[in-house]
Symmetry: C2
Subunit: 297 residues, 2 copies
């Protein structure tokens, strides 16, 4: 029997699920997010459209829907943050409850996340006693350090965003793409090169252009090299920023999560990948239960 | 009496000068480049338009007009390159002679320049016995190492291109700009931070966004910080790439050259700035004379 409507509402897309009291999925729907474009009435209409026919059930959402450009601005839990406290800090509208994000406010490092904290909560629920480094690849990758069941540190790396901007909007746009066939192992070599030779990142970029002009390098190979350098730089930076990069749990899916797995394997780091979408519905169900939105299973 | 038409023909703009036999400027004109857009007939027409009324004189040009997307593809001198050899390797059309670029073809580093070699030739002519590091700031900055009157090494850093792409096409676009008033000294601090903590460059970027969200940082201050980090990273990379960054001669003009001067001063490096536009016409005149396009002054 249906008990809860849950939404994973990001910047670009929204996933909505009709869930049973035990968190199992009865039906799932997808739509465009509207974050940054809709006003409150617009979000209300988007919600109605997404959940049509699901009845008048308690509803809970996580992600950028709780940002300043979202439906209602939800709070942030300060870091170190216990994911168990998410349920005690929901922001409620007449329609739904929004899970808080997590913020970091050290003088030398401010950071925010919205949505990833629910995946981390899901991982901690599934893996009793988990400690270590979690990597959530994305346009803006999040690295999270968990100790004592708490998020004790996290940092955002906008690697995917920078890759896209460089690919489309710098001189490199003439030298990247999917023409040709990427030389095997080029990505792995680039990851290792970036980690071995920190300071010369800036000195490598124009080489892609010059290799095209002087040596006929193809776009696909160059794209693998740029991707490898940038992900390698992210891993190298994360090590400098205090994360253990030699044993990581990747939460993600598809080609990007696979790419990160390849990068960690290339440097001999222990790594496993957990499907992120599998973690969200159980975690939101647990939060809704703890907050009293739904009864015991 | 007019003796030579000289053109500094870049990707975006072209400068044309009517010169006397001693290299002094009789008249100067500016226009749009057309590189990447015009065919041979189009370049011919652009040339006629720029030089109208200057008579049927020998003409010489440097810059991207000699690239594959230019009027005619000119050669590259291989590095190490003696700027005195530029005159012996001109590519001639029925209308004008184009100065070769310089290329670097080491297995681990390929690179190209077109136009900057003439400024370097001008500097070597003006400063007998010059040795050391030359920095030519630009969308694509060139670093050049001169020893024994030759260009023995050079490298391109696309710092300005990356800054522009990040500013306009990543999440940082919401956190950069000219709103507010830049905190004094922020640029210099950012330069030093980038050089002190190499690996964490990638970990700093999202902080601009978080500082806006959590601490109300203004766009102008954030822009100075990003600029300082990227220029600092360029200097740090150049040091790794073998350039002496503690004593440099900047060839450039305006705000960007000044910005690089400030960056070098911030790390206690000895630096001087030479107006680049002053070097080009004498250098092109000397090349034209050596090539026999014009007679002795």
């Amino acid at each position: 029997m249906s008990a809860l409507i849950a939404l994973d509402w990001g910047t670009t897309n929204v996933r909505a699920a009709l869930l049973a009291a035990d968190g199992s999925v009865i039906e799932e729907r997808h739509g465009e997010s509207g974050v940054g474009h809709l006003d409150a009435a617009g979000f209300e209409a988007r919600f109605e459209e997404l959940t049509q026919g699901w009845g008048d059930l308690p509803a809970i959402a996580c992600g950028m829907v709780g940002s300043r450009q979202g439906w209602v601005e939800a709070d942030y839990l300060p870091c170190p943050a216990d994911p168990a406290d998410l349920a005690d800090n929901l922001t409620r509208t007449s329609t739904l409850a929004i899970v808080p994000g997590v913020k970091m406010e050290a003088d030398d490092h401010r950071d925010v996340m919205r949505g990833e904290e629910v995946q981390v909560a899901g991982l901690l629920a599934a893996r009793n006693g988990f400690e270590g480094t979690i990597v959530l690849p994305g346009t803006h990758s999040k690295w999270v350090r968990v100790a004592g069941r708490r998020i004790v540190d996290f940092r955002t790396y906008i690697t995917g965003d920078v890759f896209a901007a460089m690919s489309a909007h710098t001189i490199l746009r003439h030298s990247l793409g999917d023409d040709g066939s990427a030389t095997k192992g080029m990505f792995e070599t680039a990851v290792r090169d970036a980690i071995a030779g920190r300071g010369s990142m800036a000195g490598r970029l124009f080489g892609l252009r010059a290799d095209t002009l002087l040596a006929g390098a193809d776009g696909a190979t160059n794209s693998e090299r740029l991707s490898g350098w940038l992900i390698g730089q992210e891993i190298d930076s994360a090590a400098v920023d205090g994360f253990d990069v030699q044993a990581v749990t990747i939460i993600g899916s598809g080609a990007l999560a696979e790419r990160y797995g390849t990068a960690f394997a290339a440097i001999g780091a222990q790594n496993e990948t957990i499907e992120g979408t599998d973690l969200v519905w159980p975690a939101l169900t647990a939060i809704a239960r703890r907050a009293g939105l739904i009864g015991a299973a």
